[in-house]
Amino acid sequence: MKFLTGDDTGLIKVIHVEKQKVERLGDRRRGEAVQRLCWAGPNYSEDAVAVAYASGALELRDAAGRVVSNASTAPDVRCLQASDAGLLTVSSDGTASLVAAWGKESSFSEQSYSGSAEATLEQFQLQAPVAHAAVDPSRPSRFAFGGLENDVKIYDLERKEVVWTAKNVREDSLCLRVPVKVSTLGWATKMCPSRSLITCTTTDGKVRIYDANSQRRPLFELLIGYLVGSGTGGYTGTMDDTKRPQLCSKVAQVRGDQWALLTADTMGIIREYDLRNLPKSEAASVPPGRKAHLKLANKELPFRRGYKGTMGAIRDLDVHCSGKALAAVGLGRFAYVFPTAGKQMLTKVYLKQKLNCVLMSSEAMIEAKKEDSKQEEGEEEQGEDDEVVDVQDDAPAETVADEVEEGFSDDGAEEMDGEESSKGRKKKRRKSFSRQKNEKRTKANN
């Protein structure tokens, strides 16, 4: 498994998880933070990666890290994604650029390694301020964007205009206008092609689900941490009641065919919500903010699990294409890799810098089944370039005699949902003997 990270000092690093190696992708641009990464090889393959910097500079780098092409857009890039008409960048002041040459049509041979080839951009203006934009994966000719007091809008690249605007929810119980503070957007159209489902997380700690096909108001609004999921799904500590901004979110398939919304906040808490009810969700009759609505939202978007062991705000998340692993990076200067099934973190990599973005490659995950030798605990630093990879797998696996037969099902049954703690704890005790057996199995499997 391999993923790329971009950090605050402009370095792009490639982390090979199983080989436990960290490499730099080419030279860095001094003093410019990397904000976004995106695969931009021919046909959006992984032969090349597009990099967006905080200053607005864009680069296309090949697999070896050499800069193939350059471009420039407005500073503070919030979105870098593949769309119908090329690679789309959206900056926070609303400037959107399309680089047609990168991505779908890009083809490079030896000649194009001229270094500073300027790519042509097509720019247009969106309503500012934009906090995030996301391209619809099943219809890449349109994308949604939104920001602070800038409600979610869908822009169609073919018609070159905004085709749908969200409407704010009704006033709250104090008759005050509810502020609109969009922070991230996601599309759930791959799960449910008949509806245009948009997931929107806010800096208020809320998740709004829209269906652009049915109405402008959100179907419902979930308050993160209401009744369930206020800790990390297992972490003990002060229960944080403050509604924290969600810094990143991702709609992805995890554990086979389950669709989930993963969201992470400024405290470094990653939460996973189950999207299976969305295809059938109706618009809530009770306006948001009322207790009935909060409960309904919890039912429609159930909290599935948290991911424990992170430190520092998580700035970006990415899910492996198989849905079996999740990478999270943040201000704690670590990159964390979690399995979506199972509690134990797979790895955490110390990367020395504050990390801004992560990009998973589709390189297959090598699942270690029966490991008779001890895994390396970490590498020594060779000079200043390699970082130490900390493998969190446990103590050496048991001898072959103790091993359990293959075909063992995943550890999903052992997970405890976040706040059903007391219930979960009781379950734990009753299942103690079988849990011991299962723990041994997990250790063996990891």
């Binding site: 370095l11 400024t266 470094g268 504050k354």
Partner: protein
């Protein structure tokens, strides 16, 4: 109710009595040529509690005697000039868990990152720090006493009463007036509780818990603080990445050029994630052979609770580090 003098007398009598009992026991044992019990023997076979505890007491006394003999012998050997090998005591800091965030001697990546961080302006250009000190909304008398001292200890510090300003606004206004840092102290139930140190204009905010506070006024034989000199700064043991960042934040509170004539040092000593603040005046004596320290005070212990990116924003600020109970499962894992 026993009168005080009577209580003292009773105590003396009790001690005398204990001594008599002990002497009697010893004489009895000597009369029967009984050796003192060796360390580690078990007295489980004695069912009588009084007798059993007596034997255990004798064993302990014997052990103490042996230990002091060994110690004395070591001291004498050292005085004679012989090499004495002492065992290293096993303490938790020595058994610290290997941490990959501990910065090695030369790490170009870390150095480059530090060259780009919020404190660099101070370190590069020698920008003079200007600190705003304030409190929670209703400070007590103890708080004033402490702040009066602090304003002298850290140069170029100004106290502003809190009035009704929100902390976020204070940071904004201070930034407009060219302050480099804001320190906000707060108390709980009359006891000093913590301090927020927010670097301006966009620097990180750290929150520290304060304990074991002792004011300079309370120092017996303490020196006075002459605030016209810049102090020297000592930052000990900030080894991890987080530690370096916090150390830089402390360093950015003080002017870069110390006045050695003032002979005043301020130490932030980190041990086991606790940072000890000490403020001394030093005197070299005997032609530089000895150095005498005189504490000026105040002294207190700090523990970092969180480090937040950006100026103070507890609700929507991004946290780089938060201390949480579940991060402290191992007693040998330290973050700073």
């Amino acid at each position: 109710m026993v009168k005080k003098f009577r209580k003292r007398e009773n105590r003396k009598l009790a001690i005398v009595q204990q001594e008599k009992i002990r002497r009697r026991i010893r004489e009895n044992r000597d009369a029967h040529n009984l050796q003192a019990p060796e360390a580690g023997t078990s007295f489980k076979h004695i069912k009588n509690k009084q007798k059993r505890s007596q034997m255990v007491q004798l064993m302990k006394q014997e052990k103490k005697k042996q230990k002091s003999k060994v110690r004395r012998a070591r001291r004498e050997a050292e005085a004679r000039g012989e090499e004495v090998v002492r065992q290293e005591p096993r303490s938790i800091d020595k058994m610290r868990e290997a941490d990959e965030t501990i910065v090695p001697e030369e790490d170009s990546e870390v150095e480059e990152d530090e060259a780009m961080d919020e404190f660099e302006k101070y370190f590069q250009n020698g920008k003079k720090p200007k600190i705003l000190v304030t409190t929670q909304k209703t400070p007590s008398r103890k708080m004033y006493a402490f702040l009066k001292e602090l304003v002298c200890v850290i140069p170029n510090t100004f106290y502003y009463p809190r009035k009704e300003f929100p902390f976020k606004k204070i940071c904004e206004y201070a930034g407009n007036r060219d302050f480099t840092d804001v320190m906000l102290f707060h108390e709980k139930a009359g006891v000093m509780q913590g301090v927020y140190i927010s670097h301006l204009p966009k620097g990180p905010t750290s929150y520290w818990r304060i304990t074991r506070m002792k004011l300079g006024q309370e120092m017996k034989g303490g020196a006075t603080c002459n605030s016209s000199h810049n102090p020297e700064l000592i930052l000990n043991n900030f080894v991890t990445r987080l530690g370096r960042r916090l150390a830089r934040q402390f360093a950015a509170l003080f002017p870069q050029r110390p006045d050695f004539e003032g002979r005043r040092t301020i130490t932030f000593h980190n041990q086991r994630d606790f940072v000890f603040f000490r403020h001394y005046r030093y005197n070299f004596k005997d032609n530089g052979e000895r150095c005498a320290l005189q504490e000026i005070g105040p002294r207190f212990t700090l523990k970092c609770r969180y480090l937040q990116h950006g100026t103070f924003d507890a609700r929507s600020g991004e946290y780089e580090y938060i201390w949480r109970p579940d991060a402290q499962v191992s007693r040998k894992k330290f973050f700073v």
